[in-house]
């Protein structure tokens, strides 16, 4: 942590020595604008490239000639890969898996943060251990488990494993721990039931954290490809990321005899299409978790 030193804390990265208090906004904006450029320009490149002829993407990656504008990558991609059913499957998994995570994780985290019970530490320790376990190593054991359950190529196999991931519990426990115990005790005095305390006292207070969890859960589910690729071997169940990874194999493989240019074009088109819904979800959700609902709740 020694890397965070006091001077850095000023917003005025661009003008470290003078005018710090007089014009904070300009420095802040400069810093943010530069970051925005760094973050966005590669994606803008990718999206623009999706509208170039496929061979041009490799040949002249850094130019964009509007006269060569084409939708052929998109039409080719829609014709070649089941992207519509990919969206549908992703939406199904998102709704069910997301709901399970957003309900079970905060509730269990509440118990871990605010109650004492035997085996609590053991259980939480197990949560920590699985958090540290690389996902890829659980793939084979999970796969055999799915086989024994007869769940290979089913929605429940896409939804249930990972639906209460250790990360969500760990984070929610951190968030809920910061809720003052006095509030809970006061609610008890008012005759509130145990679940009522969670629902009517804790949840409103941690709403920003919950919205944050919602955003990350949605993104993780949306972007997850390791498990879906393995478990959904039929097209019927392929999620968006499975579709993308199928498309990308000629690039992530070793280009042996592959029609590299066409695939790159279609891949960028598919990525651009995949990006849109997630951005919409994020724009909708972010309002809920960044507008400082919290201060009022705690004081009230």
């Amino acid at each position: 942590m020694s890397s965070i030193r006091v001077p850095v804390v000023s917003a005025d990265v661009a003008e470290p020595s003078t005018g710090r208090r007089a014009r904070p906004a300009i420095g802040s904006h400069l810093f943010l604008v530069m970051l925005t450029l760094a973050f966005l320009s590669p994606v803008i490149w990718a999206v623009l490239s999706a509208f170039k002829p496929a061979a041009e993407i490799i040949r002249n990656p850094l130019t964009f000639d509007p006269s060569t504008f084409t939708l052929s990558n998109f039409t080719g991609m829609f014709a070649d890969v089941p992207i519509a059913s990919g969206f549908l499957n992703t939406a199904i998994v998102l709704i069910f898996k997301g709901s399970i995570t957003l309900f079970c994780a905060p509730l269990a985290a509440y118990a871990f943060a605010k109650y004492d019970f035997p085996l609590k530490n053991l259980l939480f320790g197990t949560v920590l251990v699985t958090l540290m376990l690389p996902t890829i190593v659980l793939i084979i054991p999970l796969l055999l488990e799915m086989k024994e359950l007869g769940w290979v190529n089913t929605y429940q196999a896409l939804i249930l494993p990972g639906s209460v991931d250790a990360f969500a519990i760990f984070w929610m426990r951190q968030v809920i721990a910061s809720v003052p115990d006095e509030l809970l005790d006061a609610a008890r005095v008012d005759g509130c039931g145990e679940f009522g305390i969670f629902w009517r006292v804790v949840v409103p207070i941690i709403r920003p954290g919950l919205a944050g969890l919602a955003v990350l859960t949605v993104m993780n589910i949306y972007n997850d490809f390791v498990w879906p690729v393995v478990i959904a071997s039929s097209d019927r169940l392929a999620t968006l990321q499975v579709v993308l990874s199928t498309l990308a194999q000629n690039i992530t493989g070793n280009k042996i005899g592959a029609d590299y240019a066409t695939i790159t074009g279609e891949l960028l088109a598919a990525s651009a299409v995949a990006l849109v819904p997630l951005l919409v979800i994020f724009i909708v959700l972010q309002k809920h978790f960044i507008n400082g609902i919290l201060a009022g709740s705690v004081k009230g």
Binding site: A54, A55, I58, R59, P61, D80, V81, N121, L122, F124, G125, T126, L128, V129, I139, I140, P141, L143, L144, E145, M146, K147, E148, V152, N153, V229, V230, S233, S234, D235, V242, S245, T246, L247, A248, Q249, N250, G253, N254, K255, I256, G257, A258, D259, Y260, A261, T262, I263
Partner: protein, 464 residues
């Protein structure tokens, strides 16, 4: 492992007012060890040798559904188009054709044995690794084996069994920039040996000092694959038939020394296959010799601009006068998992695609994907690979060269091979990386051989 230490901390009074993190971690570990015996059982049944051999169907009107996995991209579309022709012959076999990320899925699907496809498109280098899950096709393909390129039979044969229907042959060719070479008075067709190639490269560099005429592959994987192409020319490979490592040989020493000479003489452009740097060097005529598999022809057809029509292909130079003028680089086959439901019907499908004139014409000849035919490999079935009866047409972007004839003639010279060891891709971390170190100038050819042999033996062969 760390348990004693963890337990000790648990009793540390200074920490006891905090939740005992160390302790609970230890307890969790202890629980896990205690319960370790409860995992699902692992293993598979054994089966007799004969039960592993697929027999052709005897049905007069075969019917049913087969699931076929293919790599996505152009080949998926080509095979997809050929299904229509297949159904003209076998109207009652429904083909469920899927584009699948095979490397990510096949191993797991075979382990679970659920929804296993009837046929899978697979890199030759991966066939041996999966052979215990696959049908031995030696009986079923008996009518054709005499007519299939020996190299393809060899890579698919393990302990007397044949585990794949050979698809394509990928002969190595010497691609060269004819226009650039002629402008300095070099006639590439006169190049007969790799020593001639170096001489021509020197001559080109003399005329164009900025150039580095010969491609030196910078990707560890493709560099190793290219090394195996050179080795295939000399009739050798990383292992012998029994899987014993044999890179400590005069052949490998010769190849590595040659690469080292090219690099030390400043005659090589080091770049990853068709990376922006590679394409830049090709298009500026600084890189004019490209010894590679036939599928390099994607470059003039799709990616090169200024030198697009300037490229031609010929047989590779020989390592010694009169030696073989080609070697195999890459290639794929179709495998049939034993757990497939309709393996016999899948066999009919592949027999049609590979050995029926209508089938292989549909694959290699003009089709909706490639109006001029599929020209990035040639058939491994010799009756289909007739030099005077081309399936794909001349390549416009290569000055209308009859690439079919060049490739088929070269393909016939490829010596036989041996099955690729299942750890082949893993060797890239050792042999592949060491070749790159040699090209950096930090290892000698001798050191590459010694270090790679040792590391491959310890980390790959001994751990099978």
């Amino acid at each position: 492992m760390h348990l004693p230490q963890l337990r000790a901390r648990r009793h540390n009074p200074a920490a006891s007012h905090r939740p005992a993190r160390w302790g609970l971690v230890a307890a969790a570990a202890a629980l896990a060890i205690g319960l370790a015996g409860c995992g699902p059982s692992i293993g598979a049944g054994t089966s007799t040798a004969d039960a592993n051999k697929l027999q052709p169907t005897t049905a007069s009107n075969p019917k049913g559904q087969i699931t076929i996995w293919d790599r996505s991209g152009d080949l998926y579309k080509v095979f997809g188009a050929a299904i229509k022709d297949f159904n003209k012959k076998y109207p009652n076999i429904k083909v469920n054709h899927q584009a699948v990320d095979i490397n990510a899925k096949l191993q797991n699907t075979l382990i679970t044995g659920t929804d296993v496809p009837d046929g899978v498109f697979l890199d030759d280098s991966l066939v041996a690794g999966y052979s215990s899950y696959l049908w031995d096709l030696s009986d079923a393909l008996k009518p054709y084996t005499a007519d299939i390129a020996q190299q393809k039979i060899d890579v698919n044969s393990i302990n007397g069994g044949l585990y794949g229907v050979p698809f394509d042959l990928d002969p190595g060719l010497l691609f060269y920039n004819k226009t650039a070479l002629e402008s300095v008075g070099i006639d590439a067709t006169k190049i007969k040996t790799y020593d001639d190639l170096i001489a021509a490269a020197k001559q080109y560099k003399l005329a164009k000092p900025d150039s580095a005429p010969i491609h030196l592959e910078q990707s560890g994987y493709l560099g190793q694959l290219q090394l195996e192409m050179y080795a295939s020319q000399l009739g050798t490979s990383m292992t012998d038939k029994k899987g014993k490592l044999r890179i400590d040989s005069p052949q490998y020493t010769q190849i590595l020394s040659w690469l080292d000479t090219v690099q030390k003489g400043g005659l090589g452009t080091r770049a990853e296959y068709l990376s922006p740097s590679d394409i830049g060097a090709l298009d500026s005529s600084n890189e004019v010799f490209y010894p590679w598999a036939i599928w390099f022809d994607f470059a003039p057809q799709q990616q090169l601009t200024t030198t697009k029509g300037d490229w031609r292909a010929m047989e590779l130079p020989a390592w010694t006068n009169g030696g073989a003028r080609s070697g195999a680089m890459g290639g794929s086959s179709f495998v049939l998992p034993k757990a497939g439901k309709n393996s016999k019907l899948a066999l009919l499908f592949y027999e049609f695609l590979m050995f029926d004139k209508k089938g292989y014409t549909a694959v290699y000849g003009p089709n909706s994907v490639y109006p001029n035919g599929l020209n990035t490999s040639i058939p491994s079935y010799l009756p289909a690979a007739n030099a005077s009866k081309p399936l794909f047409g001349p390549v416009k972007e290569m000055g209308n060269q009859d690439l079919w004839k060049t490739a088929v003639t070269a393909g016939k010279q490829i010596p036989g091979g041996v099955p690729t060891p299942k750890w082949w891709a893993g060797a890239v971390d050792y042999l592949g990386a060491n070749i790159q170190k040699m090209l950096d100038g930090t290892l000698t050819p001798r050191q590459v051989i010694d270090q790679s042999s040792k590391d491959i033996q310890t980390n790959l062969i001994d751990r099978q």
